[in-house]
Symmetry: C2
Subunit: 447 residues, 2 copies
């Protein structure tokens, strides 16, 4: 099975919705999974999506909802009463997804929905999940998990698990707690399968358990799960009590979003936008960086105005080269640092060591570029002082840009500002302006 | 437990290695996991890493090896005989990791190592894994899995699983096959726990199973696992027989690498480099894009040379602005498309629709920038025709750059060339050159 969203399929579904053929729609969706139907709903117009959504059964509805973008989800739920939201959606979701859905409502609506939940444990779990800061381990975790006590036998363990497993969709790891409910280890399902029934958990459990606190950041959760190849990560509170677990699928989304965010920053896009978004959204996400670029360009014009370019108009020829190279070197340097900061992969080099290294790289690259440039310039422009001016400027600009590109993200990071801010248009624009100043200053000295 | 790589820890370990205190080293590593020790080994000098590596037990050695960079792994293994590689490393790894290790050897060494494997099934599994193209599903999968027959009862199933589970490190899903060994469904461990022992698998298994063929690309594997929130994905051959499974941890690395690769391309870095790499590696990864930028700069100089800039030296003032804005708009547009292509998230818009949309966005952004620029220019530069020239050029350049930025990655993708190539220095440089040409042409017409 391999679902493919095609215009033909959409046309077919639109016709079935037009003629209100509910049965045929249900049949069409029967072999599809929730993420596939979510893709279909995303391309239909709102009335059609509502009709199709309404036709499906509750469990499928809930699974589809969590696949959709926030605003579409809101629109599909707008005619649902609080009771319907609980019975059709919340009751069919694991606690982390349920909390994500409720999160988006207004404070009043949240309370109304929570008050309609019959199971008090479920309601208090959700209140707990809603209380954590966004993107913290507490907000990412689900409450459903299987835990066993260290003094139980395998037999008792399996019996208890039968009870607990009803609430948990996917069972990967079983957590071992002591009398105080503190997390002390794990047992794999494989070990349970291979061990005689009378053995005690305390004799077989794995004591090397990696866990996070509720306030651990999402970035850190992602880094830990990725580093140790974990499928599930237990979450503990201040008293070391096991209170939830984070599954890898939620973290994969997080890892992807983080990587995309850095990429977007470097490319000068301020929001998480997609080509399918409307013209207004696309414009809004792009204009801030363009304005920064424009201010940089105007500053550049002012700097050129400081010098007597009419005396040496040939200097204008190399403005694009100097500006572009400053920008390119700066972006390269900052990208390397931003990636390393994200991966916590900076090693143990201190700032002095990094300065020497970055300076060396820039010097070598600069010298290579300058030698080539000098030969070409000498051939093209017979004025003897021009190649020297241009090459000397290029070398200086490249070294400056490399050091700026390296240290600005490091400094931002030190003050807990997202270092990715320093990449892209910001660093390019700054290097443009500084580069022009260096270029014309050197030209004034030499020519 | 929360491991932190510190200079103090490294110093301590270096001292223990100096005085050859094996026991203390083993104790130091006792509470650490393989990825932690790998981090330590990566910062030690080669002789020290060899000493530390040698001290550890075989299972840990194998787990550490697969965490290391390829070249360090090679160096640590260089004194190992083929038999030692099999007994100390290969036998302690799952088949996918074992294949990764063998992959790096020369063809002769590969054959020598494979010939030393005692278990014929294991050897033929590895030969099979080595035969698939890099980054295909076949190369990503592991051979170890638990499969049961549809006509078995739960009781028989559990007995058989006890046998099979010994080979499989982590058990997440049990695969159901028919008499011809064709994959027909899955059973979760949860269902096994909750179902009476005499029930037959055929009555309880889930028929909606998503699988991939051995030649499915790594990108597609990542997309499917991410979309359907899968922890494990079964791999089938041409006859629909189940032959392996891919686990999410391998795919998380893949997703991260892909995202990082796009980011690096956009930033003009050609290799997967890190700040800890040496000066030569860092230089090599950066120089190609710098040379492209320099050629662009020289072309820009030639274009300016085509026009009589000495007649209107004030035109030089706006060269940085025009060049920078063309570059910024181009990078924005291409980044949006590259991300959407990677996520297969382009929706159903056709090229004509996309053209209209991209044109509209560029026009609106361009008009906003032009109005602001016109006001500032009129205030700063009293020459009446200059603001008109600059603004008209800026608008034209922004629209051109947006369309280039959008369609070049789409065209590359159509011809199966990595669209990310179009981002970063390449598109910036091209837009610089075209932008300058547009600017001076318009200036010649108006001034």
């Amino acid at each position: 099975m391999n679902f493919q969203l095609t215009q033909d399929l959409i046309n077919e579904i639109e016709i079935l919705i037009d003629v209100k053929n509910r049965l045929a729609l249900i049949q069409k969706c029967e072999n599809l999974l929730a993420p596939d139907i979510a893709e279909i709903i995303e391309v239909l117009n709102l009335n059609d999506s509502k009709y199709l959504f309404d036709v499906l059964d509750d469990e499928l509805k809930a699974d589809i909802l969590i696949e959709l973008e926030e605003d579409l989800r809101e629109k599909l739920l707008e005619n649902f009463s609080s009771r319907e939201i609980v019975e059709d959606v919340i009751d069919n979701l694991e606690s982390d997804d349920a909390a994500d859905v409720i999160q988006e409502f207004s404070k009043e609506k949240q309370e109304e929905v929570l008050s309609k939940i019959v199971d008090r444990q479920q309601a208090s779990d959700l209140v707990d999940l809603l209380s954590y800061e966004e993107n913290s381990a507490g907000a990412l975790m689900a409450k459903e998990l299987i835990n066993v006590r260290e003094d139980w036998s395998i037999l008792r363990c399996v019996t208890e698990m039968r009870k607990q497993a009803q609430d948990v969709n996917n069972v990967y790891t079983i957590y071992v707690v002591n009398k105080n409910l503190e997390l002390i280890g794990t047992v794999s399902l494989k070990t349970l399968l291979l061990t005689p029934e009378k053995t005690f958990i305390s004799d077989i459990y794995n004591k090397q358990v990696i866990s996070v606190k509720t306030n651990t950041s999402g970035e850190e959760v992602a880094r830990i799960m990725n580093k140790y190849d974990l499928i599930v990560l237990p979450v503990i509170n201040e008293k070391n009590e096991l209170i939830g677990r984070i599954t890898i699928d939620d973290v994969v989304d997080f890892i992807k979003e983080e990587a995309e965010k850095d990429y977007q920053m470097a490319s000068g896009i301020s929001d998480n936008i997609e080509p399918v978004d409307n013209v207004f959204t696309l414009t809004k996400a792009r204009i801030p960086w363009l304005l920064i670029g424009m201010i940089g360009g105007l500053l550049g014009a002012q700097i050129i105005g400081l010098f007597q370019i009419e005396e040496n108009p040939i200097l204008a020829f190399f403005i694009p080269l100097i500006a572009a190279m400053g920008g390119n070197v700066g972006v390269q340097s900052s990208a390397i640092i931003v990636q390393a900061l994200a991966a916590k992969n900076l090693g143990l080099d201190n700032w002095a060591k990094r300065f020497v290294k970055e300076f060396s790289v820039a010097l070598i690259n600069g010298l290579i570029c300058c030698i080539i440039l000098f030969i070409i310039c000498t051939l093209l422009y017979p004025e003897p002082k021009l190649p020297i001016t241009v090459c000397l400027s290029l070398l200086t600009v490249m070294i400056f840009a490399a050091l700026f590109g390296t240290f600005i993200p490091l400094i931002l990071n030190k003050y807990n500002i997202d270092p990715a801010l320093a990449t892209g248009p910001f660093i390019t624009t700054m290097n443009d302006v500084i580069g022009l100043f260096i270029y014309f200053s050197i030209a004034e000295l030499i020519l």
